[in-house]
């Protein structure tokens, strides 16, 4: 009986130790690691979508701002999850990750403020752009009807043309020229009959709004589409992967124990026949 019980107990202990060590050798937090990776990749993708939508809105291909706010909220939520939620990588003992995550949170907050300003100025620009065709049509049907001032007509055309050029190219030359024509129209308007004066003033004001707003919108697009956010996201990803690799290597005592256990067993199997012979 004792002959059976002793080896049985030994094998049970060996199996228990081996199982424990095997579990510890597994990248035990693999699910959490995958979650962190999903969040980090999600950050990059959402940021890319956000940047693409900003450009689409500037081009007029996207006519509402909902997606900007949705994606901004997603970025904030992902950072929050990385800091406090499932898949947390914050305050795990790696100051490099903490620093980059803090930096990213600040960059996203700043991006949110810039997006608020972008929407405001783009809205003003669109408001005048949408209105100009109807306003000009009205002016030609009523106030400018029968107006024979050829210079005024040419100046209106030039003001429009240079505003277009500035909106497309963003070069200072076109802005200067457009504003020169707009100011000329304003000066001449003073001497015109009341209705024409008001129409010319309104027309000039809307062109100026287009110029001023497109200038601000273009500046904001340059700032919003710089690489600071995406670079920080990449850096954060790299820092986390380095941390994960390090933690995997640091988890090796269990691997060593498991390896030693396997060696012992192999040795035991090898010498067991010799021991039996001696008996």
């Amino acid at each position: 009986m004792q002959k059976i019980t002793k080896p049985l107990l030994v094998s049970l202990v060996v199996i228990a130790v081996a199982t424990y060590v095997y579990i510890m050798v597994q990248p035990g937090k693999l699910a959490l690691h995958n979650k962190s990776i999903d969040l980090l990749r999600g950050l990059m993708q959402t940021n890319a979508e956000l940047n693409a939508d900003i450009v689409k809105i500037r081009q007029g291909a996207l006519k509402n701002y909902d997606s900007l706010e949705v994606n901004l909220r997603k970025l904030e939520q992902k950072v929050d999850q990385l800091k406090n939620g499932e898949g947390k990588i914050y305050k795990l003992g790696d100051s490099d990750i903490d620093e980059k995550l803090d930096k990213l949170a600040a960059l996203i907050g700043n991006k949110g403020d810039q997006i608020t300003t972008f929407k405001l100025h783009n809205g003003l620009m669109r408001n005048s752009l949408d209105y100009l065709p109807g306003a000009l049509n009205d002016m030609y049907q009523e106030e400018l009807k029968g107006e024979n001032d050829e210079v005024l007509h040419r100046r209106i055309e030039d003001a429009l043309r240079f505003t277009i050029m500035y909106t497309i190219k963003g070069e200072e030359k076109w802005r200067r020229d457009a504003l020169a024509h707009i100011n000329w129209i304003r000066r001449v308007a003073v001497e015109k009959p009341r209705n024409l004066k008001l129409a010319l003033r309104s027309f000039s004001d809307h062109l100026e709004v287009v110029i001023t707003s497109s200038e601000k919108v273009n500046d904001l697009i340059n700032t919003l589409s710089d690489y600071s956010t995406s670079n920080t996201e990449n850096d954060l990803y790299r820092s986390y992967m380095n941390y994960y690799d390090r933690s995997l290597r640091q988890g090796s005592p269990y691997t060593t124990v498991l390896y030693a256990l396997v060696l012992l067993l192999a040795l035991y199997i090898a010498i067991r026949p010799l021991l039996k012979k001696e008996d």
Partner: protein, 359 residues
């Protein structure tokens, strides 16, 4: 070969008009997507008969429309028990400091989730500084409150509970009151494993807020392809709404609520109105930036027929007046009455359904 330019003196006003309109078209096209230009080919131009503004039936292409339909309530995957609990909390006056105010005091379903007052009364006995915005479709609102907060619905509910002008009760005291009430204790227990907690109160109210969805307005049906849902005049009103540039700010699912804008581009509405208050300074009160003075969240236009009076100060008592003020301060002109009427006709198509019934 370069064509010889026609001398200026030969061109009449009509020729100048054509040239300038072509330039304007180019100006607009600078920022217009290729696919929308293609769809424009089929546009049928006609005069509105009022100002000469071009009105056309665009043969609606949802991809390029600035307004999107509201999602149907069934698609929101709401938890009915949480919604019911949230509604009870929302309507319960006993949860305020003096037992006389509830969220519902200023947000009534039959008044478009407003109280239809220029300034709602507050718990401190003084009126509120700004007009009460509607809470319908708040789940789809990208920015909250007139100052455009980017926060979640639960946090907004907490802020209202704690505000001295809101329900003036601290959250721990609120939790104590709820725990002392057997009915609430049982209701919370049925929904949340950990019973009455601050986070659970916020979560239940937020779920109720999300349920305040009003889909299936006639305009939503039109956007979904039912072209007969709008009359010819309402469609013309929508077209004018876009051509006057209103849709550059009032866009998205909520037709507003996703951006900030000044209370006037051409002139200062607040200075002209007089009696400027601190609340009139808008976003400036939050940021301290001079450029943010008189800047407010663009309000939603959904159910606008029910949410009078209008503007941040509730100074416009009719839709006609609100549209007129917008024309004057956002476009710098007096809109013709006939165009205002058409736009108002369109705005009235934005009234949706709540719990399956037309509001």
């Amino acid at each position: 070969m370069i064509k010889k330019k026609t001398p200026c003196h030969v061109l009449g006003a009509a020729a100048w008009k054509t040239r300038c309109l072509t330039l304007v078209a180019a100006l607009v096209a600078v920022a217009t997507p290729a696919h929308s230009q293609e769809s424009d080919k089929s546009l049928n131009y006609q005069s509105s008969g009022t100002t000469g503004l071009m009105v056309f039936d665009p043969g609606l292409n949802i991809d390029v429309e600035p307004i999107l339909p509201l999602p149907l309530t069934e698609s929101l995957n709401l938890n009915p028990k949480k919604v019911a609990l949230g509604e009870k909390l929302f309507n319960d006056k006993s949860l305020s400091a003096d037992g006389k105010f509830a969220c519902e005091t200023c947000h009534l379903v039959d008044k478009g989730m407003t109280d239809q007052k220029a300034h709602s009364p507050a718990i401190d006995g003084k009126d509120r500084d700004l007009n009460t915005p509607t809470m319908f479709n708040i789940g789809e609102m990208k920015l909250l409150t007139w100052s455009g907060k980017r926060s979640n619905l639960g946090d907004v509910a907490e802020a209202v509970f704690k505000s001295k002008k809101g329900l003036a009760i601290e959250m721990p005291d609120l939790v104590k009151r709820l725990e002392a009430n057997a009915e609430y204790k049982s209701l919370f227990g049925a929904v949340y494993d950990n019973g009455v907690q601050v986070e659970n109160v916020k979560d239940a109210i937020a779920e109720y807020m999300r349920s305040l969805n009003t889909p299936n307005s006639r305009f939503d049906k039109y956007l979904r392809g039912d072209t007969g849902a709008l009359t010819k005049e309402e469609r013309e009103g929508y077209q004018l709404f876009k051509e006057y540039g209103c849709s550059s700010c009032h866009q998205g699912v909520n037709i507003g609520g996703n951006m900030m804008a000044p209370a006037g581009i051409f002139g200062n509405f607040i200075k002209d109105r007089g009696n400027e208050t601190t609340a009139d300074l808008g976003l400036y009160n939050k940021t301290g930036n001079l450029g943010d003075k008189y800047v407010f969240r663009v309000p939603t236009l959904r159910n606008i027929e029910l949410t009078h009076p209008y503007l941040h100060d509730g100074s416009a008592d009719s839709l006609e007046k609100a549209v007129d003020i917008m024309g004057r301060y956002m476009l710098g002109r007096d809109l013709p009455v006939s165009d205002i009427d058409l736009i108002v006709k369109f705005l009235k198509t934005l009234t949706g359904e709540y719990k399956g019934k037309q509001l």
